[in-house]
């Protein structure tokens, strides 16, 4: 461990949390692992010395309460303050992690309302209402991020330049958009802004009622929807979709 690793709490932690017994300062460290801060930053925020945080972190890893979180090239370079790959000291571009296979338990397609308590007269249910016919005005121009991921160095001419018969992986689209911002939470909101511009009727026509911002398994097959997503990304981020968002033939 060097202190630059980023860890997040796991599903195992969530299951066992109520039974875990730790000293209060150790809880502070454990709860500071948020999948965004480095180990060194976690130690700092938990007011624990790095030397003390190391064995604690190892203990949490051994218990499977935390796991290391991969980050994108953009996020890495932003963290180290490099403006391009040369600034990282790497002779070849490091791999970009677009997909973390070891995510927590996936969230259901439509977040299920919590189970009603016995005293609740009516179980809470999601309410569906018709989207309004709002025509979005032109988008504000988002300032370009300082570093382009490798896929965006030689962008495709249009989002659907690859054969429109090739399905588009929604998870890869989400990962691409998120990678444009050096912060996962902000990246997810950028994804949201993109999808605010995609006509919901096109999504629903392909049975896509929701997008999971981690490990979405949906494939976009329709040319219209692929184009709408590509156009929305261009409008919001001024970037074009890379070929890598399309599933292999």
């Amino acid at each position: 461990m060097t202190g630059t690793e980023i860890y997040k709490r796991t599903a195992a932690y969530d299951r066992e949390a109520r039974d875990i017994r730790l000293l209060a300062p150790h809880w502070k460290v454990l709860l500071a692992f948020d999948g965004q801060r480095t180990l060194a930053e976690v130690a700092l925020s938990a007011e624990t010395s790095f030397a003390e945080a190391l064995p604690l972190t190892q203990k949490f890893l051994d218990q499977s309460w935390i796991e290391e979180t991969p980050i994108t090239l953009d996020q890495y370079m932003k963290r180290i303050g490099a403006r391009d790959i040369a600034g990282t000291g790497a002779s070849v571009p490091p791999a970009v992690v677009l997909h973390d296979p070891k995510k927590d338990v996936p969230v259901p397609a439509t977040p299920a309302p919590a189970a009603p308590a016995p005293s609740m007269p009516v179980p809470p249910k999601p309410v569906a209402v018709t989207p309004p016919g709002i025509v979005p005005p032109p988008l504000p121009i988002a300032p370009p991020p300082p570093v382009k991921p490798p896929e965006a160095v030689t962008p495709e001419k249009g989002a659907t330049s690859k054969s429109s018969r090739t399905p588009m992986k929604l998870s890869a689209v989400v990962d691409f958009i998120t990678s444009l911002v050096g912060n996962i939470s902000l990246g997810q909101l950028l994804v949201y802004r993109v999808f605010l511009r995609v006509p919901p009727e096109l999504l629903l026509a392909e049975d896509i009622a929701s997008v999971h911002l981690a490990n979405d398994t949906s494939l976009v097959k329709g040319e219209k929807l692929q184009k709408a997503i590509g156009d929305a990304i261009e409008a919001v981020t001024k970037r074009t979709l890379p070929d890598s968002v399309f599933a292999a033939a």
Partner: protein
């Protein structure tokens, strides 16, 4: 003045900060989703309408048990009644409203909090997409839901 992602995230961040303050940083985030068809409502909901710099709404909706835990966290007070649950969710919503007003001032108009149980009395217009951030505390769920009328946030 356009609201950037950081500004939009503030709605979520301020809610999480408040809940973490109450729970001693025990709130766990689940992976968010973007919903196109339906809104999610749990047992009790506190909703704020937004106008101005951003048009839409933000709300927190939580199970009765989630609110019961919050109600009893500082001191054991027994099972929270419906009125207690409304008070807890109202307190969270008011705090969010105050913090958001403090940050955005007159550029963003925030409605009075709407507190309701199960589903809203008056229908809420479904925006093109809503951002749903699930949170877990003591195995109980709550959701922070953000619905903007469009990607344009000016």
């Amino acid at each position: 003045m356009p609201l950037h992602e950081q500004d939009i995230y503030y709605f979520i961040d301020v809610t999480l900060t408040h809940l973490n303050k109450i729970t001693g940083n025990e709130i766990v985030l689940r992976d968010p989703t973007i919903e196109f068809q339906s809104l999610v409502f749990s047992a009790y909901t506190g909703l704020l309408h937004l106008k101005g710099g951003a048009e839409g709404f933000v709300y927190i909706t939580a199970s009765q048990q989630f609110l019961n835990f919050l109600y009893n966290f500082r001191q054991s007070r027994g099972k929270a009644s419906e009125e207690d649950c409304r008070e807890v969710i109202s307190d969270i919503t008011n705090t969010v409203a105050q913090q958001v007003h403090k940050r955005f001032g007159s550029t963003l108009k925030i409605s009075e909090p709407r507190i309701f149980s199960t589903v809203p009395d008056d229908p809420i217009e479904m925006p093109p997409a809503v951002f749903v951030q699930p949170i877990v505390w003591r195995k109980e769920h709550a959701y922070i839901v953000l619905g903007l009328a469009s990607a344009e946030t000016t």
